[in-house]
């Protein structure tokens, strides 16, 4: 048995043992332990901080990961990957402005990096810098055509260029008919332009792909409410509150629809409708 007063001292220099241990633990899926293995390094090593950033990102500790990558870019300002990863961490920490700067630095170092351009465009959309976002998506290469086209459609929609946006979404749907987000955005677009037929059509398409889609149900409920089809509105609202119990509009509109149905039942009926009813029944 080893006496307790003996201290084990690693003969391997630097932080390499820590890195090797962390990589082994990460490979076996033990991310928390891998991260602990990288704690308190006795010297600065950019590779250690890179691995630490990767593990922190995978664990969802985006703020910590940003700090790790920030350390890397300080010592390696020409490291485009580190700038890009830093930008992703900042983006996921809702630091949109700072993420734009990091994406821009990554692009300065590597102008062919489409992912950085997509990320930059996404952050610019959050910052409501819509013209810049549109220009950024337009600079993407053919390799990133589909996501760039989606970004362009969103930018156009937010710029209220609805016709162009709808065409862009339709082009996307031609190649990817199951794009639920494109359909959701088209529903939002047509609600804004008050084109109820299109709201209905896109909602039905969305519900065919995703029968539990709240946006699809809300689209159909909107159409039913606008057209005073109270039974249909009540039916859609009932499903909406079942799926989204926090949807206050859903509860309100369900109650209003039910009240209108009851009012219609309790309203005095006209007497001389026999001939019309008879013809309908036939």
């Amino acid at each position: 048995m080893q006496p307790s007063n003996i201290i084990e001292i690693s003969v391997q220099p630097g932080v390499q043992p820590q890195i090797d241990t962390a990589l082994g633990l990460r490979a076996s899926g033990r991310l928390d332990e891998a991260l602990r293995a990288l704690a308190n390094p006795n010297e600065y090593n950019p590779y250690l901080y890179t691995i630490r950033g990767e593990i922190e990102f995978a664990l969802g500790y985006f703020h910590d990961a940003a700090l790790s990558y920030f350390a890397v870019v300080q010592s390696e300002p020409d490291n485009a990957d580190a700038h890009y990863n830093l930008a992703l961490c900042l983006q996921r920490s809702d630091r949109w402005d700072a993420s734009c700067q990091a994406f821009e630095r990554a692009l300065l170092l590597d102008p062919s990096r489409d992912a950085a351009r997509l990320g930059l465009g996404a952050s610019l959309l959050y910052l409501n810098r819509l013209d810049e976002a549109l220009a950024t998506f337009q600079q993407c290469s053919e390799a990133a055509q589909a996501p760039a086209a989606f970004g362009k459609a969103v930018a156009l929609q937010l710029l209220h260029r609805f016709g162009e946006a709808e065409s862009a979404y339709e082009a996307l749907l031609a190649s990817d008919p199951d794009s639920t987000e494109a359909l959701s955005n088209l529903i939002a677009l047509n609600v804004e332009t008050n084109d109820l037929d299109r709201v209905r059509d896109y909602s039905q398409r969305l519900l065919k792909i995703s029968p539990q889609s709240p946006v699809g149900l809300q689209g159909l409920a909107t159409v039913a409410l606008e057209r005073e089809d109270h039974p249909a509105a009540a039916r859609y609202c009932d499903r909406i509150v079942e799926l989204m119990p926090d949807c206050l509009e859903g509860w309100h509109n369900l109650r209003v629809s039910l009240e209108r149905i009851l009012t219609a039942f309790s309203a005095p009926k006209p007497v001389a409708v026999g001939a019309e009813l008879a013809s309908e029944v036939k």
């Binding site: 950019p46 590779y47 890179t50 691995i51 950033g53 990767e54 990102f57 390696e76 020409d78 490291n79 990957d81 890009y84 990863n85 992703l88 983006q91 992912a115 997509l118 990320g119 465009g121 996404a122 959309l125 990133a144 996501p147 989606f150 970004g151 969103v154 929609q157 937010l158 794009s179 987000e181 494109a182 959701s184 955005n185 529903i187 939002a188 677009l189 609600v191 804004e192 946006v215 809300q218 689209g219 409920a221 909107t222 409410l225 509105a233 949807c247 206050l248 509009e249 859903g250 309100h252 509109n253 209003v256 629809s257 009240e259 009012t263 309790s266």
Partner: protein, 95 residues
């Protein structure tokens, strides 16, 4: 309770339809390092800006003249540099 005609009919409320772009984030994954990054060696500067003639202070005001001189250097066996002409002289030895 019956709703009288004098009571205002309750209005429906608009649902909130948000424009989203979550799809874009599906294309944004971090790049994993394959290993320690190799440092790019930056070559040592070989040019020096030196004054050729040190004119008296009074003259410098109106006739200051500077010229760039590129000394011809020879790499010695031990990786150091020596001027092409004259005695070999290490930079660290001064003057």
């Amino acid at each position: 309770m019956r709703v009288g005609p004098e009571q205002a009919v309750e209005q429906t409320r608009d649902f909130h339809f948000a424009v989203t772009w979550v799809t874009l984030f599906a294309h944004l994954d971090p790049i994993e390092a394959a290993g320690p990054r190799r440092r790019v060696e930056t070559p040592a500067p070989t040019l020096a800006l030196v004054p050729v003639v040190v004119a008296p202070l009074t003259e410098q005001r109106s006739h200051a003249a500077w010229e760039m001189v590129v000394p011809k250097m020879i790499r010695s066996g031990d990786g150091n540099f020596t001027p092409a002409e004259g005695e070999p002289k290490l930079l660290s030895q001064g003057g």
